[in-house]
Structure formats: C-alpha cells, structure tokens
C-alpha cells in the first residue's frame, strides 16, 4: 500500500515536471510569436487596446462610449474575461489585451485542463495517455483556427468542459462528493462562462457532452441495474445547473430583465435568425464526414464545397500535400482502434462513451451537410432558440475534437504499452513488466516520438502565421507610436462630447482598416480610448446612419453653418481625421482624409485641437453640446425621410413617425410632414419574370387532396378583397406550374383540363372582385401585383398554345389554355389605363395625396429627381391634381432642394397628383461599332459608355434594333478605377440576352449597379463578326421622388426650463430644472432604449424619496430618449438605465455564492471530506 502510494506520488511529481516543461515551451513559443512591440488586435477579437477601460465598461449595463450609446446588458457576462485581460495586460506591463502573456495564459489553460483531465483518468487508462492527451488537445486546427483573434471565450469554455468532464467521472466513480463537485464546477463556470450571453452558442459542444453522458449513464444504469449512478449524475447535473445560474446571476438577471421588458428577445426569435439559413448552409458546405473524421473541414479553409481557399495561410498544404493528406486519413483509424484496444471494463465503457459522443457530435458539427444535414435543419427550423447555432462547426467542434483526441490518445498510449511490452519481452523476462526500467524507458521514448510526430504534423501552428486570417492579413501588428500619443492626450484632455471619425468607413464593408495592419469591425478608437467615438459602423440603427450620412454630406459640401448645427444636435464636439486609413485598398471606397482635413481647416467655427502623426483632432470652437436638454415643441416627419430635415432646414427636435414609434403628443407638434411615395414608379420598376413556381405535388398524386385542403384554409383566412385576389392569383400561378409540369411529363389530359378549368374559375372570381372595387382601375399597387402574377402565366401559356398548333394536344386542352388567356386579357383591360402604355410612367409620376387642412402645402423634394446627361437636375414641367376636377398647379422653387406645388384654389380631400417631365435625357454616349475578342471568338459590337454614372442609382437601358432577325446580347461592363485588362473583356460581365427582338418597341433592362463601381460601359454584340443593327441605345435614371405635405400648427409658445445635470455613471444622471414652464420634453441624447427610465426625486421626511416611472417615453430625432413632462411639481429627476439595478442585485448574489463556494471547498478539502 505504502509502495503504491510512493509510486503515485512519484508519478504525480513526473506529471508536475512535465507540466512545467510544457509551460516553459509554451512560454518561449508565444515569445517567438509576439516579440516586444508586437500585439494582437483587430478583426473580430474584441481585444481591447485599453483593457482597464474595457473592464470598467463591463461594470455598467449601458456603454456610452460607442456611437450614440448601446446596451451592454448582454455583454456583462464577459466581466471575468475582461478582468483576465486586464490582469494579463498589467502583468505584460501595458494595457493591450492581445499581448504575449495573454496568449501564453490561454494556451497554458487548455494544456493544464487537459492534463488534469487525463491525470484524473490515469488509473483506468495508462500513464502514456496522461502525457499524450494534453499536447494533442492544445495543438490542433480547431483550437488554432481562431488563434488570430485569441478567442478567449471559446478557449475558456473548452478548458471548463474538460474539467467538468473530469469532475463528472469522479462523481460517477464516487471519488468526490456531489456537493464539492457542484461547488468546484460552479466556480469553474463562473470564471470561464463563455464570455457573454452572445457566447451562449459556444455551449453547443458542452450540451452535447452533457446529453451523451446522461444518456449513456441512463442506459448503462438501466441495463446493469445501477440506479444509484443515474441518481448521482442526475442530482449532480441539476445542482451544477442551479449553481451555474446562481453564480452567474450578475449576467443572467439583467439579461432576463432585458428579455422580459425590452426588445432584445427579438434577437433570438426565429423570424430574425431564419435569414441566416444561407450562412448556415455556407458554413456547412465543407463539413463532410470524411473531412471531419480527418480533424479538418474547417470552413475558413475553403472557398466553396471543394475549392480550397487560396488566401488561407496554410489550408492549401494540408489539403493538397499527399503526405499530409495521407496522415490525416490515419486519424479515424487510430481513434476507433481504441474500441479494439480497450481491455478493462472501465476502459471499454469510457471508450464506448467517447466514441458515441464523437459520432453524435459529428451530426451537429457537419451542420446541414449531407447525409444527415436534414436533422440539423429540422432542429434549426423547429427547436426554439436552436437557430443561435448558425455556425455548427465552430460551436459543436469542441466536443468532437475532445472526443476524437481522447480516442486517438488512448489508442496511441495502448499501442505504446503493447509495443514496449513486446520489445522488453524480447530482451528479458522481468518479474513486473510495468516496473521494468527498460519498459519505462521504451514507453517514454515512444511517447515522446508520438508527441513529436503530432507536433511535426501540425508544424505550421508554430509559426506566426497562426495570426494570419488571410495570407497577407494578420492581427499580429505593431501599433504606431502616434496612436498611443493620441490615447494619452485623450486621457488628459477634457473631452465631453462625441468624437466623429473621419473619413467615414466604406458603406459596403463598414470595416475600420489602416495601412499599418489594423482591420476590424470595431473601430480602432473605440478599442483605444474611453471617450465617446462615433463612426458609421455596423451597429448603428438606420436613423443613426441617416444622421451621420447627413453630417458627412454637409461637411463634404462645405456648408459650415449646417454642419456645425448638425454636429451640435448629435452631440459631436470633436472630429478625428485619420490619414492612415486604407485608402489604397481596392476593396474599399474610402474618401480622401485630406479633403476632410482641408474643409475642417477652412471652417471658422472649428479649430485644430491637436495633431499626432497621421491623426489630427479638430474641435468646435463654441462650447460643447449638452447630453440632457429640454425642448418646447416637436416636428413630426415620417421615418426614413430624414432628408426633410435638410430640405426644410428644421432646427427643432424631431419626432420620426413610424408604426412602432406610436403617436407624438399632438399638442407638442409645431409642424407635421406627411410624405407620399410615387405610385406609378411601382409599375416602372415592376419585374416581369416568366419563371413559374416549382411544384412537387401534381393533380395525379394521392396527396393532391391535401394541397387543395391547404388552399381552402388559405382562402378562408383571407378576409379582405385584396387578400382574396392575392390568394386566387397565387393559386392560378401554382396551377400553371402544375400544367407546365404535366405537359412536360405528358400526363393524362383529364388532369390538364381540370387544372386549366380551375385557373379559369379563379381568374373569373378575380375579375368579379376587381370589377366591384371602387377606384380599382387607378390602383397602381394592385396593377403591379396583377402584372407580376399574370405575366408568367400569360407568357408560358402562350408558348404552349403555339406548340399546340402542331396538334400535340386535344382541342379541350387548347380551349382551356385560350380561355385562361382570354380571362387574363379581361383582367388586364380593367387596368388598361395603368398597364396600357407602361413607358408613360417614365416621365409621369403619380402620387395619391390627401390634404386635410386649408393651410396644408404641397412640396416636392428635388433630392430624388434625376440628372440629365450634362449633370443638371431634370425638373418637372407640369403638375396636375385630379380630384373630381383637374387642377393645374404652379411649380415654385422655395429652397435649394424644394419645389412647392401651389394650387390656384384651396383643395381638401384625396386626389391623384401627377408631375410630368418633358425629357429625361439620354446618358448613353455612343462610341460606334467595333469587333471585340470574346471567349467564343470575334464578335461585332455596338458600344458606348454612361455619362455621369452614379453607382447609387438604378438605370433603365433601352435598345432599339433595326432588324428583328439577329441574335443580340447586352453586356454591361462594370469597371472600378482603371479599365480591366483586355483578357477579361466580355467574360464575367453582366450579360443579358436581348430577346425577343422587335422593331416597334425597344428591349428594356433595369440595371442596379454594384456598390464599388466607377465607370459603366454598355456593349450590344452579335454572336459572330457581323455587326449588330442598332438604331439607338438610351440610358436614363430610374427615380422615385417623394411628395410632401406640410401642416403648420399654431402652438402656444412653451418656454422650456433650463436644465443642469450631473453624470453619476454611464447608467445614471441627476437632473435639475430651473425656470421655464411645463409642459416640455426632457431629452437624453443617448440611443433610445425603452429601459431608460426617468423618475422625480421628491423631498420626503428628512430624506429624498424616489417617485415612480410615470412619464411618457418618446424616441426623439429617431434615436434619442425623450420624456414628456406635463406638470412641474418636481424640479429634480433621476434618469437611469433599469437593467443596472438588476446587475447590482445579481452581482450581490454572485459574490455571495462565490465566497460561500470557495469557503466550503476549502472547508471540505481541509476536513478531507472529498470522497463521495
């Protein structure tokens, strides 16, 4: 017994020595990766350059240093992670979270946790396993796939999973009492909790492990009649889950409140997550079983299902090098060889468990990839909240790699023992083989060789390439000294207002990218300083983005007064011009920083505050903007039409009216704007596709009755005439799809005739409903819907009727088809006024407007009018209002972007307003004919370019042919910067067949440019050297203007009080009011959130009492918070962000549970009450 104990201690010493040796190795490895001066920053890492400030920000449920502020409730859980970032950065002697010590810590954590796990099992497995498992689990492509962003949340949870597995096996073996196991688990998951609530999907792998352990134990327990095991594991899991919730209350409680009271639950709803299905399929495309078995299939490695990503730093070698590929095929053999090599019952049970865990997890790791992708699809579409797992490989990969590496390490360890035994037995016959020195030496050498081979196979993971997320892009960067100078300046300067980042980010990518290597969705200044920086980045709402777009436009156009007013409105006091942004990167359309610097320098009300290398700070000369202020009135404008603010030069607070905003208090509105969209524009842009829906169940199927029943249900649910029309049109389209299928497959004619009769009946009903509707003939939307449904029906049936002339079908089928075509004609005739001559709507724009007050005025914003070929705005020449009688309106220019349409006499009620343009001009400049080299050979072309091309607009291209007997193709050559090399010409361009060609009407094509184009050329080519016979090509902008009706209101002049405030924290403000009168609106210039609350502070008996939250909460300027204060009983208020209260409560619970847990663990260990 004593000898055994001594041997145990000796082995423990060896393991500790091994750990120290490995940690030393890791230290030098990380040192070689990140020598002094190098850090990891950027991409998706969240690695702050100011870890202390970042940690502080995690103590509040509102983060007021990014853009217009943002909710932080769901990020609170990353408190422990950022605490570690801070501690490790401090140890590294700086504030940068992505430092060498940090990288070392996380790798060391994985290694140590793996060693603890393997040591826990060493009595059942063998000693070689203890040494092989940790390096294998630390160095593999799953862990290193995210090394470039040092995915601490994943690493922490991975380590916690292994430790939890070790504890669970101890619980099952009764080597630890359940209370101690629960407490240790809770503490582990307090520290490594997956980061924040956004890290929840990282628990995917962990949940699979828990489910497998439980199921395995349950089946095992039932078959072997060991009910106590089931009980123990059930109690342990339940208590551990309870412990997890209690100890993480600080993160869970405020998040729960946010879900219950706020709108964050939308983030997890199926409606919002379902669109991610395409991403899910993309991620899963390379996760085939053969790839996963080989410990590969990492989505980053591939461009598509089979094409390797040439931009990946090392994927190419591991997928094409014959030797490396060959080695990867050994892994599954090694892993499942363990099932044969397991000898003892415990070994067999462990191996069977891990093998099942691997195979079950593979179903999830492979996501929607065949053959079992339908299972994941089912979960994704039907299990609530499962849609958070939209990147299956990354979220479930942890448990797969854990299991596979366990099995591989077990097999190798067993083989090493077997081989060593055989070799030793060849030399001598020792009494105790396992204690033989020769055996130990041989096992040691073989273990070392195995570890070395594994590391050699993964040799690329030892180079700094692991920080490359593309061949030439890395997160391993050196930060220029002026960045730190700027940081120091920001810490010592009194900066209250927001800092606007210039030049704006590229609108397509919204990436902050610098020529020295930083590249991230998080802007560099937001990761660097604690002052409030604003940029047009991904997290902004549409309204915030619109405001920033306005301020950028004012700055670019050099309008100083408008720019300064807008800056003050948005709380922006400073402007940071960064001249080191990646203007040379062809991916981005970045505007020149120099232009912004020059414009700001020329403004009198802006001065240069400081300059740091390539960064210059400008500031407003006259004071800073107030975060809290009062307003006496509001102007209401429709949501998404912020341009009215500019056109009408509105300087008061704005209420953006939308469905979700509710109504503004009517007695506060000084002005109201109502906008009307162009109705006829719907027809101009209506796409007339000829594609029929795919139908799977045809009338000859026994399941067809079910389809009919479903349609009847749809019909019963349709309550309005519009819904009924849509339903019948939808059914007609589906029936035509069936007819087309049946014709193709030559099905029995009786089904065809029946289907055609159904279509005919549906269309008769549609005609009857339409005829009975008042104003139906002027309903543009209805006309568009009808056009879009009837067009494919008509065009497909026409083709079939033409084919039928050859005598293929019976007369009843042909008659059925012609009846349908006749009904279509009748319906179209109902809308002949709209659909008759569609080209009319290019120059005539119709609006349905409503005037309710004699003082209402009609305006047209010219911002949406087109430009002619000379770059001049095209204005309407005539405006006509039709409302019973026809009134001609006078067109008067009121401001830069504003035309007023004045009626000769007052008009009230509803009517149709038409504005008519004479000519939109032709932006096509012909360059004549040419013969071009195309992939098929030489082709004759007629070509030209588009003058004053603007990529933000849509264009209509018309081609008039002289001769209809020619085969023509339209090529749209999209160019960015300089012209493409000639070899790319006519390949990969936008290509459209010009069909059918007619000489009486032009061929039309609507073109929507890509976001990063500069020039556009148009080619019309034949299929050979014959030149095309073209009469004319014309190009004009497609435009859809807004008509605006303004309503002025005579309001009593409220004098709002003077507001003073004190910022207690990012989540709390104390407000005092002085003078003025009520009612008024108190505005907090932070992003609107329903959980921002205001309450009065009332003088109580000897102490201050807080009142109730009783004021109406409004969204002001489309993004900030406002409260309607009706009565002035109170002069002092508190504005606070509600989730903070729950964070405080949760933090008390967490701290208490943590302290109690640690004390109990110490007590139990000291008293030796460990065993279960």
């Amino acid at each position: 017994m004593l000898k055994r104990k001594r041997l145990e201690n000796k082995f423990l010493l060896i393991v500790v020595g091994y750990l120290l040796m490995a940690l030393t190795g890791l230290w030098f490895l990380t040192k070689s990766w990140l020598p002094p001066g190098f850090v990891i920053a950027g991409h998706d890492s969240g690695l702050a350059l100011a870890s202390r400030q970042f940690l502080i920000s995690r103590l509040f449920t509102w983060d007021d240093h990014i853009n217009f502020g943002q909710d932080n409730t769901l990020n609170i859980g990353s408190l422990t992670l950022h605490f570690m970032d801070f501690v490790l950065a401090t140890l590294a002697g700086g504030e940068v979270a992505g430092n060498q010590i940090s990288v070392f810590f996380w790798l060391a954590l994985i290694f140590s946790s793996a060693l603890i796990f393997s040591f826990t099992l060493h009595k059942h497995l063998n000693k070689a396993f203890v040494f092989i498992f940790p390096p294998f689990i630390t160095f593999n492509f799953y862990i290193f796939q995210s090394m470039f962003m040092l995915e601490r949340a994943k690493y922490g949870l991975f380590a916690a999973t292994m430790l939890f597995a070790a504890i669970t096996f101890l619980v099952l073996e009764r080597k630890i009492n359940i209370l101690l196991a629960v407490l240790i688990s809770s503490v582990i998951f307090f520290i490594f909790n997956g980061g924040s609530l956004w890290g929840l999907p990282l628990y995917g792998g962990f949940l699979i492990m828990i489910a497998t352990i439980f199921t395995h134990t349950l089946i095992w327990g039932i078959f072997t009649k060991r009910v106590d095991e089931i009980k123990r594991i059930l109690v342990f899991f339940l208590l551990a889950g309870f412990g997890y919730i209690l100890i993480n209350s600080y993160a869970i409680l405020p998040a729960f409140v946010k879900f219950r009271l706020g709108d964050a639950s939308l983030l997890f709803s199926q409606e919002n997550i379902a669109p991610n299905k395409a991403w899910l399929d993309y991620i899963s495309q390379t996760s085939s079983f053969i790839n996963i078995f080989r410990l590969q299939g990492i989505p980053d490695w591939y461009e598509d299902q089979y094409k390797v990503n040439a931009n990946h730093p090392y994927a190419f070698s591991y997928t094409t090098d014959k030797m490396l590929v060959g080695i990867s095929f050994i892994f599954p053999i090694l892993a499942f060889l363990s099932l044969v090599l397991a000898k003892t019952p415990v070994q067999k049970r462990l191996v069977s468990f891990f093998a099942l865990m691997v195979l079950i997890s593979m179903v999830f790791v492979s996501g929607t990839h065949a053959p079992l992708g339908f299972i994941y699809n089912f979960f994704y579409e039907n299990v609530p909240a499962f849609a958070i797992f939209r990147t299956p490989f990354y979220k479930f990969g942890s448990v797969f790699f854990f299991g596979m590496i366990f099995l591989i390490a077990f097999s190798l360890a067993s083989l090493i023992y077997k081989f060593s035994e055989k070799l030793v037995l060849l030399i001598e016959k020792p009494r105790n083989l396992q204690n033989s020195k020769k055996f130990a030496f041989l096992a040691l050498v073989l273990t070392g060789s195995v570890i070395f081979s594994w590391l050699a196979y993964h040799k690329v993971l030892f180079s700094p390439q692991v920080f490359n997320w593309q061949k030439t892009n890395t997160t391993r960067i050196t930060i220029p000294p002026y960045i730190n100078d700027f940081k120091s300046w920001s810490e010592t300067s009194n900066i209250n207002g927001r800092i606007l980042l210039l030049p704006p980010l590229d609108e397509g990518w919204r990436i902050d990218s610098y020529d020295w290597g930083y590249w991230s969705l998080s802007t560099l200044p937001s990761m660097l300083i604690f002052q409030n920086t604003v940029a047009n980045e991904v997290s902004l709402t549409n309204q915030e983005r619109d405001w920033l777009w306005e301020i950028f436009t004012e700055l670019e156009s050099g309008k100083e007064e408008e720019f300064v007013n807008l800056a003050k409105r948005l709380g922006i006091d400073f402007f940071l011009v960064r001249k080191d942004v990646s203007t040379d990167n062809p991916l981005f359309n970045l505007k020149s920083p120099k232009g912004f610097e020059d414009t700001l320098g020329s403004f009198e009300s802006v001065n240069k505050v400081a300059a740091f290398g390539k960064w210059t700070v400008f500031g407003l000369k006259n004071g800073h903007s107030d975060k809290i202020y009062a307003a006496g009135s509001l102007v209401e404008i429709p949501e998404n039409q912020l341009f009215l603010y500019r056109d009408f030069k509105l300087d008061g607070s704005i209420f953006l009216k939308s469905k979700r905003s509710g109504d503004a208090p009517d007695d506060f509105l000084s002005m109201q704007f109502k906008s009307f969209r162009c109705l006829s524009c719907l027809i101009e842009t209506a796409e007339t596709d000829t594609v029929l829906p795919v139908v799977r169940i045809l009338p000859n199927s026994p399941l067809y009755a079910l389809k009919r029943i479903r349609e009847q249900t749809e019909l019963i649910a349709a309550s309005s005439d519009e819904e009924k029309i849509n339903a019948y049109l939808g059914f007609s389209l589906r029936r035509v799809g069936e007819v087309k299928h049946m014709l193709d497959f030559r099905e029995k004619e009786k089904h065809l005739v029946a289907d055609l009769k159904s279509i005919n009946d549906y269309l008769v009903i549609v005609y009857q409903i339409l005829s009975s509707l008042p104003n139906s003939t002027k309903d543009f939307k209805q006309a568009k819907d009808i056009l879009q449904v009837l067009h494919p029906i008509e065009s497909n049936l026409r083709i079939e009727v033409d084919k039928a002339k050859s005598g293929t079908f019976s007369s009843s089928v042909i008659s059925g088809m012609t009846d349908v075509l006749w009904q279509i004609n009748r319906i179209k005739n109902l809308h002949s006024e709209i659909l008759g001559a569609r080209e009319r709507w290019e120059t005539e724009k119709v609006f349905g407007i409503e005037l309710s007050n004699p003082t209402d005025r009609i305006f047209l914003s010219t911002s949406f009018l087109p430009f002619d070929e000379d770059g001049n705005r095209v204005f309407p020449t005539k405006a006509v209002l039709k409302a019973g009688e026809e009134l001609s309106l006078e067109i008067i220019k009121r401001a830069d972007n504003l035309l007023e349409l004045a009626a000769p006499k007052a008009f009230l009620g509803k009517g149709y307003l038409s504005i008519i343009f004479n000519d939109l001009g032709n932006k096509f400049i012909s360059h004549g004919y040419s013969v071009e080299q195309a992939p098929r050979g030489l082709v004759g072309c007629y070509y030209g370019s588009v003058k004053k091309f603007d990529r933000t607009l849509s264009y209509k291209i018309k081609v008039n042919a002289k001769d209809k007997d020619q085969v023509l193709k339209l090529f749209i050559r999209e160019e960015k910067g300089e012209n493409l090399p000639l070899e790319y010409f006519l390949t990969g361009q936008r290509e459209v067949s010009i069909f059918p060609i007619s000489t009486y009407a032009p061929f039309e094509f609507i073109y929507n440019p890509a976001t990063n184009l500069d020039y556009l050329s148009i080619y019309v080519c034949t299929e050979d050297k014959e030149l095309p016979k073209i009469e004319k090509i014309s190009v004009h902008e497609i435009f859809s203007p807004y008509m605006v009706v303004s309503k002025m209101k005579d309001l009593p002049k409220y004098d709002p009080p003077k507001v003073s405030y004190e910022k207690i924290s990012p989540v709390q403000y104390k407000v005092s009011l002085e003078g003025g009168e009520s009612p008024f609106i108190l505005i907090l210039n932070e992003k609107f959130d329903p959980l921002w609350k205001i309450k009065p502070v009332k003088a109580g008996e000897g102490k201050e009492m807080e009142g109730d939250y009783e004021y109406k909460h409004l969204r002001i300027d489309g993004y900030s918070n406002g409260w309607l204060i009706n009565s002035r009983q109170d002069n002092r208020f508190i504005i606070e962000y509600l989730p903070q209260r729950f964070f405080r409560l949760g933090a008390i619970i967490s701290a208490t549970v943590l302290i109690v847990s640690i004390c109990t663990i110490i007590f139990l260990v000291k008293r030796g009450k460990i065993d279960g």
Binding site: W220, F289, F293, I333, F336, V340, S352
Partner: protein, 128 residues
C-alpha cells in the same frame, strides 16, 4: 489484424472455402434474407415518389451500411477492418481529386461506425 482474424496465412482449398461459405450462409440465412430485403427496400426507395424527397445518394449509402452492420451484428474488429479498407479507397479518390466520391466513402464509414459502436456498447451492456 485482418490476417489474424481471417486466418489467411495460407490459401485454403476452394472446396473448403465453398463449404465454409455455404455453412455461413446456412447459419445466417435469416440475416441474409433480412438484409437482402432491406437492401432492396433501401436501394429502390429513391425510385418511389415522395420518399425520393428525403433519401438522397449520400443518405442511401449511410443507411445501407448502417443496416448491414446491424443485421449481421458485425464485430468491432470487422467493422474496423472494413473502415481501413474504405479509408484507403477514399484516400485514393481524394488524392486524384474525386473528393465527392471520397465524401461518399466518408458517409459509409460513418454509417458502419455508428452501427458498430452501438453494437459494441450493447455487447458491453450484456457482459456487464
């Protein structure tokens, strides 16, 4: 391992093989019949309407080998031997760029391994 298991150190006489094979077929006649029926059902299932909406080529391979392993109650050693063979083939296809075919072999491996591991666990449970 294969050599040891199948005892193919020397080539047996054809009559010996024939009698062994016949004996095996006779002993496993029910299994052979069940597998034959399952094989037919699974193989022809993509030809039937509606079922072909769910069963594709990859799933077919997976199901065939899953049922093969279960019906013949294959020992884990045989399963492993098969896997080695198939992996070798898959490697060949992978190296010549026929990755889709290699993937198909991967599905087969998964099917047979899944069934094999479940059988292994069931046998363990029986022993315990």
């Amino acid at each position: 391992m294969a050599r040891k298991y199948f005892k193919i150190s020397k080539l047996p006489h054809y009559s010996e093989i024939e009698s062994k094979l016949l004996r095996w077929v006779l002993m496993n006649r029910y299994r052979v019949s069940i597998f034959f029926l399952t094989f037919l059902a699974i193989s022809f299932s993509p030809s039937f309407p509606y079922i072909n909406l769910f069963i594709n080529k990859s799933l077919l391979v997976f199901l065939l080998f899953f049922f093969f392993t279960v019906i013949f109650n294959l020992e884990i050693k045989i399963v492993l031997f098969f896997i080695c063979m198939v992996l070798f083939l898959a490697l060949g296809f992978y190296l010549i760029g026929e990755i889709e075919t290699a993937e198909l072999f991967g599905n087969f491996i998964y099917g047979i391994l899944f069934a094999g591991t479940i059988l292994y666990t069931i046998r363990l449970l029986k022993i315990n």
